[in-house]
Amino acid sequence: MSGIITTDYNGRGGLQDLDESCPICKNTRYLTPNMKLLVSECYHKMCESCIDRLFANGAGPCPICSLTLRKINFVVPTFEDLSVEKEVRIRKRLAQQFNKRQEDFPSLREYNDYLEMVEDIVWKINNNINKQETDELIEKYTKENKDNIIHNARRQIDEEKLAAYKQACEKREKRAQFENYKKSLEQERKAKEELEVELINELANSKTSALKIIAAKKANIHKNSDSFQDSHQENVQIKEWFGLDHLTQEDTQEFDPIASEYMDIDHYTIKEKYIDSYLPAPTQLLRAGGYNQKFIYERSLQSAFSGIFDNCESADEMEE
C-alpha cells in the first residue's frame, strides 16, 4: 500500500490510501489528490463531486442502496473502517436514551443485565436484525424511563461542568505558583545585589579585617534566602460560579489514595515491647528479610478485636 500524509480541510491528518477511489465515478486519489470521500446515512462512501452532481436538485436515492438521501446529511468519516464508524454512531445515538448508571440499580447483577440489553440492541441495529421490534423496544424504554433519562442527562452535564471547573482551577493555581516563584527569584537576585554593594562599601570604609566582614555577611545571606522560601504566598483560590451548588460534598471531595475504606479496629493500643516467648527473636538474619515482631503483634491484636461485637451490634441498633 502506498500512502502519503495529508491534512484534509477539517484539519484532520492521516495516512490516506492513494488507491482509494470513489465507488460512483471510480475516480482515484492518485489522479485527483483533492478528492474528499464523504459518508452517507446508509454508510456508503461517495466523493464530493459525485454528491454535488447527484443531489444538486435536493433529495435523491442513494445509487447503491436507493435510500433517499440529502446533501446536508453527508459527513466526513472519523474511522476508515465504515463498520466501526457505523457502530460508534449507533452507540452515540443510543447513549442519549440509555444513560442509566450503576447507582440506578439495586444490584450489580441487574446493572449487568441492563448493559447486556443495550449491547443486544446495538448488535441488532448494527446487523439490521428485527428492526421494527428493536425500534419499538427503544421507544417503549424511552417512554418508561423518561424522567430518569432527563435526570441522568442533567447530571452528566453537571459532571462535565465540574470537571471543567476543576481543570480551570488547577490551571490558575499552577500559573499563580509559577508567578510566585518568578517573583521570589527576582527578589532574591535583587537582595543579593544590594548585599554585594553593601559589602563592598563596608570593606572600603571599615577598619575590621576583611575576612571577618565576609564571614558575617555570608551568614546573613543564608538567613535571608531561607526567609524567602518561608514566605510562600497563600494559595490563591479562584472560585467561580458554575451553578454547582446542588452537587453533594462527596462529588467535590478530593480523592485520597491512602485513606482506608474500612472502619478502624479500636479497643487496643500497640506497645513497642511485650513479654512473649512464642515468636522468634528478631536476629540480624531475620531482620534482613524485613521481619519485625511489631507487625505480628499488630496483626494479632487486630484479629483479637475485629468483629468482637459481630452479633451484638444489630440488637443494639434496633434498641436505638
Binding site: M263, T269, S303
Partner: protein, 358 residues
C-alpha cells in the same frame, strides 16, 4: 463504612445464624436423599435387567460388587433406611476427630514440623464446610478427611508430599487428586480460614497492659489453646467470629485457673454501651455452652452408622455399580460409533479417489 472482617470469604459465605445453619443442612439432606433414592431405584432396575439378559459372566461380576443391592437381594430398594441429618453429622464428627489420629501416624518429623494446630484446624474446617454442601452418601468421609488434610497442609503453607499421605492413609494417589477438585469446588475455592489462634495470641499481648501477673497470663493463654481446639470441632466457626471464640476460650481457661477476667473485660469495654457489652457476654456464654456440650461420637456409634451407610450409598459414585458400568459402556459405544463413522467416511473417500484413477 464497613469493617474489614466482613470482607473475608469466611464471613461472606460461611457465616450463618444457628437456625440458618440447621435449615441449610436440612434442605441439603432432603435433596441428597431424594437424589440418592432415585439413583438406587435406577440401579436396581438396571441390575435386574443385566442379570436377566446377560451371560453368567455378568452376574459373576455383580457378585464382586460391594454395592448393597447385590449383597442383600431380599432388601427392596424402597425399604432402605436412609441416614438422617443427625446420623450424617455424627459420622462427620467421628471422622473429624480421626484427623488427629491420622496426623499421629505420620513420621515424627513431619508431624511436629508440618502439621501445626493451624493445619489441623483448617483440615477440620474444610471437612465441615464440605459436608455442609455434600452428603456422606455421595462421598465417604474416610477419603474426604485425607483430601482435606492434604489441601489444608497446602493452603497453610506447610506442604507434605502426596506419597506420605498415600503411605499413611492407603487411599490411592489418583483418588486423592480426583477428590481434591471435588472438595475445592465445594469449598468454592475459598481456602483461607480464620482461626481463633491468632486472636488468642492478641489477647495474650493485650492483657499484659492491664494484668500485672505475667505468669498467670501465660498459663491462661496456654490453657485456652485446648479450648480453642475443642471449639474447632463444634459449629462455632460457622456462627461466631474468631475473636469471640478466642475470648470465650480465654475466659474458660481463666475460670479453670481460678482467675477472674471480668475486670479486664470491664476495663476493655468501658467505652461501649452497656447493652452492647451485655449482648457480647451472652454471645460468649453461648459459645461456652457449645464447646462444653458438644457430643462426641464413639467408635461403636460410628460403626453402626457406617454399616447403614453401606446400604444407601449413591451408586452413581461407585465405579463398580451398574449405573457406572452402563455409563462407561455407553461412552465406549459412543466412541466406537464415532470411530466407525470416521472409518466409513475414510473408506468412501478412498473409494472415490481410486475410482477417479481407474
Amino acid at each position: 463504612m464497613k469493617e474489614l472482617y466482613t470482607e473475608t470469604s469466611q464471613y461472606r459465605n460461611w457465616n450463618y445464624t444457628k437456625e440458618k445453619l440447621q435449615e441449610t443442612r436440612k434442605i441439603n439432606h432432603k435433596l441428597a436423599v431424594k437424589r440418592v433414592k432415585k439413583k438406587i431405584m435406577e440401579e436396581s432396575i438396571l441390575q435386574k435387567q443385566m442379570s436377566e439378559s446377560s451371560s453368567p459372566a455378568y452376574s459373576e461380576q455383580g457378585e464382586r460388587v460391594n454395592s448393597p443391592r447385590v449383597n442383600s437381594p431380599k432388601l427392596n430398594p424402597s425399604e432402605i433406611e436412609y441416614l438422617t441429618v443427625e446420623d450424617e453429622l455424627a459420622l462427620c464428627k467421628y471422622y473429624q476427630t480421626q484427623i488427629r489420629a491420622m496426623i499421629n501416624q505420620f513420621s515424627v518429623e513431619i508431624r511436629d514440623n508440618k502439621f501445626t494446630d493451624k493445619v489441623w484446624a483448617t483440615a477440620v474446617t474444610f471437612v465441615k464446610r464440605f459436608y455442609l454442601r455434600n452428603t456422606v452418601m455421595n462421598y465417604h468421609p474416610k477419603e474426604i478427611i485425607v483430601t482435606c488434610l492434604f489441601l489444608a497442609a497446602k493452603s497453610e503453607h506447610s506442604f507434605v508430599s502426596i506419597d506420605e499421605f498415600v503411605k499413611v492413609s492407603k487411599v490411592p494417589k489418583n483418588r486423592i487428586f480426583e477428590l481434591e477438585l471435588v472438595v475445592s469446588g465445594s469449598l468454592r475455592y475459598e481456602y483461607t480460614v480464620h482461626h481463633p489462634f491468632i486472636a488468642a495470641f492478641g489477647y495474650y499481648l493485650d492483657m499484659q497492659n492491664v494484668i500485672k501477673d505475667t505468669n498467670k497470663i501465660k498459663s491462661i493463654y496456654e490453657k485456652s489453646i485446648s479450648f480453642i481446639k475443642a471449639s474447632i470441632l463444634t459449629d462455632a466457626m460457622f456462627i461466631y467470629q474468631p475473636s469471640q471464640i478466642a475470648l470465650t476460650a480465654l475466659r474458660m481457661a481463666a475460670k479453670q485457673d481460678k482467675f477472674d477476667l471480668s475486670n479486664y473485660l470491664l476495663y476493655k469495654f468501658t467505652s461501649d454501651s452497656h447493652k452492647k457489652v451485655e449482648s457480647l457476654y451472652k454471645v460468649l456464654d453461648d459459645i461456652e455452652g457449645t464447646i462444653k456440650n458438644q457430643e462426641q461420637t464413639t467408635f461403636e456409634q460410628a460403626k453402626l452408622i457406617d454399616k447403614r451407610l453401606l446400604r444407601c450409598k449413591n451408586p452413581e459414585k461407585n465405579p463398580n455399580s451398574a449405573i457406572s458400568r452402563k455409563r462407561r459402556l455407553d461412552k465406549e459405544a459412543n466412541v466406537e460409533a464415532e470411530r466407525k463413522k470416521k472409518k466409513k467416511h475414510e473408506d468412501e473417500y478412498q473409494k472415490e479417489i481410486s475410482s477417479v484413477f481407474n
